[in-house]
């Protein structure tokens, strides 16, 4: 019963958010300078070809009409076709003349789905790394405020949060792949290519986890049900692992929901540095090539993921703490 009502509300809210995002991105890309039609057919194309293409794409319609058309397609799961990317492989150079009647441009959704698994793998591995680094530091710091562990957590957090991810990526790639030859780093030919980028991402995320854990564990340890637990006869092990961490995990889940943006932003940069063929690299390339439908599609898709994961996060939080049901 609860789950159903909750899901209805959240999914409705999610659609509103997605609508707003679509609207914003769509408008933004229409008002910035640059002629999409010329982009598609190429710089050398004659003007009449450009005009013909614009007409064909509906670019001469007023923006609201274009928006509604786009929404209509979106509802059917059609994000349109990439301006530049053919169905198979290589990018068509934007400067050469290109036959406007050619209809073999790749579907935006296909392009996204094709890249998605690699990005998910990268994100998953980096979250595991991040927890491995941050959990011991954060928990130890929270259990003993003022101890050397707490101070270590504090300084490690301050240092990690100050580390520009692209720079760390470059330096690590040089040190570990080029100089030491321990791990591969450019492109993707197997799982080992994920490790180094995931580590860079983990370092970027870790400070948030460390700080949240330190603060929330320290706070939980002050709660009466924890201070009274040894008097009730519970062992220190159970107090920390069954109760303190359980209660501190709720702020951590919420943090995950909020910092998802940081993670996705990080993915983008890291994929670019390591030439890792995921969604992030696709995004950057589509921006650099002004492939509007693709930019639009990716932004909407990512908001969708964001909304979806936040619903999951809230469900998980209510599973842990039933007071949060609302």
């Amino acid at each position: 019963m609860f789950i159903l009502g909750f899901l209805t509300r959240r999914i409705l809210q999610g659609f509103i958010v997605l609508f707003l995002v679509t609207f914003a991105i769509f408008t933004l890309l229409r008002v910035v300078p640059g002629d999409p039609a010329r982009l598609i057919v190429g710089g050398m194309a004659p003007d009449n070809v450009v005009a013909q293409k614009a007409e064909e794409l509906g670019l001469n319609d007023p923006i609201p009409v274009q928006f509604i058309t786009y929404l209509g397609q979106l509802v059917q799961g059609d994000m349109g076709n990439s301006f530049l990317r053919p169905k198979s492989g290589a990018i068509v150079g934007a400067s050469e003349y290109d036959d406007p009647t050619r209809g073999n441009r790749a579907q935006v959704l296909d392009l996204i789905l094709e890249r998605l698994p690699l990005t998910l793998q990268l994100a998953g591995v980096s979250i595991v790394f991040c927890l491995l680094i941050a959990f011991p530091l954060g928990v130890a710091g929270g259990l003993r405020p003022g101890s050397w562990m707490d101070r270590l957590a504090f300084f490690a957090g301050s240092l990690f949060v100050s580390m520009p991810n692209f720079w760390l990526g470059i330096v690590l790639a040089m040190l570990i792949s080029v100089k030491m030859g321990l791990l591969p780093s450019i492109g993707y030919k197997g799982f080992s290519y994920t490790i180094l980028p995931a580590f860079v991402l983990a370092i970027e995320l870790a400070p948030f986890v460390i700080r949240t854990l330190t603060v929330s564990i320290a706070q939980v340890m002050q709660e009466e049900f924890i201070t009274i637990a040894p008097i009730r006869g519970l062992t220190p092990f159970r107090i920390v692992f069954a109760h303190a961490i359980r209660n501190a995990s709720i702020p951590l889940l919420n943090l995950f929901g909020i910092q998802l943006g940081t993670l996705l932003g990080g993915v983008l940069v890291v994929e670019y540095i390591f030439d890792y063929p995921g969604l992030g690299l696709l995004t950057i390339n589509s921006v650099l090539q002004r492939d509007f439908p693709l930019i639009q599609g990716i932004a909407i898709f990512i908001s969708g993921i964001f909304v979806f994961i936040n619903i999951i996060v809230d469900l998980a939080a209510t599973a842990i703490d039933p007071r949060l049901e609302y």
């Binding site: 019963m1 609860f2 789950i3 159903l4 009502g5 909750f6 209805t8 509300r9 709660e223 009466e224 049900f225 201070t227 009274i228 040894p230 008097i231 009730r232 006869g233 519970l234 062992t235 220190p236 159970r238 069954a242 109760h243 359980r246 209660n247 709720i250 842990i320 703490d321 039933p322 007071r323 049901e325 609302y326």
Partner: protein
Amino acid sequence: MTDKKLLRVDGLSVDVVKGTMVTPVLSDISFSLNTGHVLGVIGEAGSGKTVLSRALVNGLGPPLEISSGQVIYKGRNILDLSQRELRLIRGKEIGYIGANPMGSLDPTMAIGEQIVEKLRSVRPDMSAVAAKERVLDVLASVHIPSPEARFHEFPFQFSGGMMQRVMIVDALVTDPTFLVADNITQALDVTVAAQIIRLIEELRLKFNTAIVFVSSSLPVVSSLADEILVLHEGKIVEHSTPHELINQPRHDYTKSLLARLPRIWGDDVKQLAENNGDVVLSVRDVAKTYVVRKRGTFNDHNYVQAVRGVSFDIHEGENFGIVGESGCGKSTLTRLLAWLETPDAGTIRFQGFDLAELTKAELVTMRSSFQLLLQDPYNALPSRMPVGRIIAESLYIHDGGSKEEIRRKVLSAMEEVGLPKDLENSLTVGLSAGQRQRVCIARALVLEPKLLILDETLSALDQVEQAQLLELFALLQEKYRFTYVFISHDMAMVRKVCNRIAVMYLGKIVELAGNSILFENPQHPYSKALLSAVPTLDDHPFQAEEYLLDGEPPSPVDIPQGCTFMTRCPARMKICGSREPDLNITVGRAQSACFRATEMGDEVPHQLK
């Protein structure tokens, strides 16, 4: 000799250590306790009684440090045991119940699960099934309705009283030989507290547990204990039996404690007459319902009927009391009276003006005439403003004249409420609860109000401060002819100051009567139950055995049909289920919403001669 005692405390001293500052909290505490006996410890806030109860279970942490002494349980000094050794007895043979039941268990886990967890931590030999059975058994023995269902519920789904029962189960589930009960009724409503005391009495015989029962209420302690320790400023000032302590107190502190106990019944209790001044505030059929979205639904709502049609008049210069327990709607009524919220139905007229019909500007002007004093003196004042500025705030809002004039008014108000002049520029952080309340009073006073609404204003204060403030209120009333509305759960305080009193239950006034009628000849069974639960040493006309109710009020979301009190009423009749009784006139100007009231109206309870 010593080994026969279950517990012996020898020269126990505890200090607060902060850096190089050492402040003693307990000094040289010694006493002993036999198997199955109850030792009462009585002390006011700050007497060190909670520190003592924590020390008995070796549960002190920084900044508290034990500087000397022993706590010998069955021949072994608990304070010297290692954590491992301690685990073998603490939680198993020694139980502990604290003052804050709502915070004592993990809010994210079902209560049954947590008690089983505890039971199996101290008795690893027990199987999960056996442990669960045992927990269900004990849950039933503390009269928690449908224990199987509640086993799976979470702490937030329990009321304070029920949760305290859960904590009693948590302590007793291991069959402890020794139990520390630290102020366990402090956070509870009177009738609920009385139920808990009755439960402890019952369980004590059943489990044959030795109890150290710590409380700030002498009547409560003396009704339970075999012996009583009086704790004052960290020292034991007196140690005797309840009878001796009450009748022949030896130490001055004990004597003053007894003298300060509020008197409710007896020949020497001051009788307050009703007065018939002009009507200042007139409340007619006021109702307020809150709409709250139902948990887990998309668009389904609960209607919380907080106030359900309340009418009364308040006369100039009188003290009007509104009493009731948590959830009875008195806080909502307070907000309505102060016009912080507007009623859904009914009218509130102040000095003849319907507050709903005033314009915004008129209302602001009118506000200076009726002022609300808030409950919690620590949160009622902005922390960033100095005292003088806080008091001046009222005048700035109401355009109280030039800067000099305002300052003059502020200083004279400060003097009037007994605040030293040099506090004018200091922040409120260092002030005591009583001083803070005085700031609140001064802030209302500069507006020259007619009516003061006191929302539990005195409940955060200790007896001495409370008495001083009541004196101040009386003084101001004499000088300015103030009218007071006291909203309170404290029957003793209301007895002392109010001319007329309204008793609220589930959003309605069930009885409205003059002071002496309400306390000596109440008509409504709820009023009687409330009175039976008041802890007092006086000869009690309403014995708990006869009048105290079981259970708890129904939820204001699901109000029963007919008389709302019917679910708990010992004297319900057929008619009660079909119709809700109005406030009928019974004795003199007393009104009672009970069908039985008219029929036994003039009968005086037999306990009163």
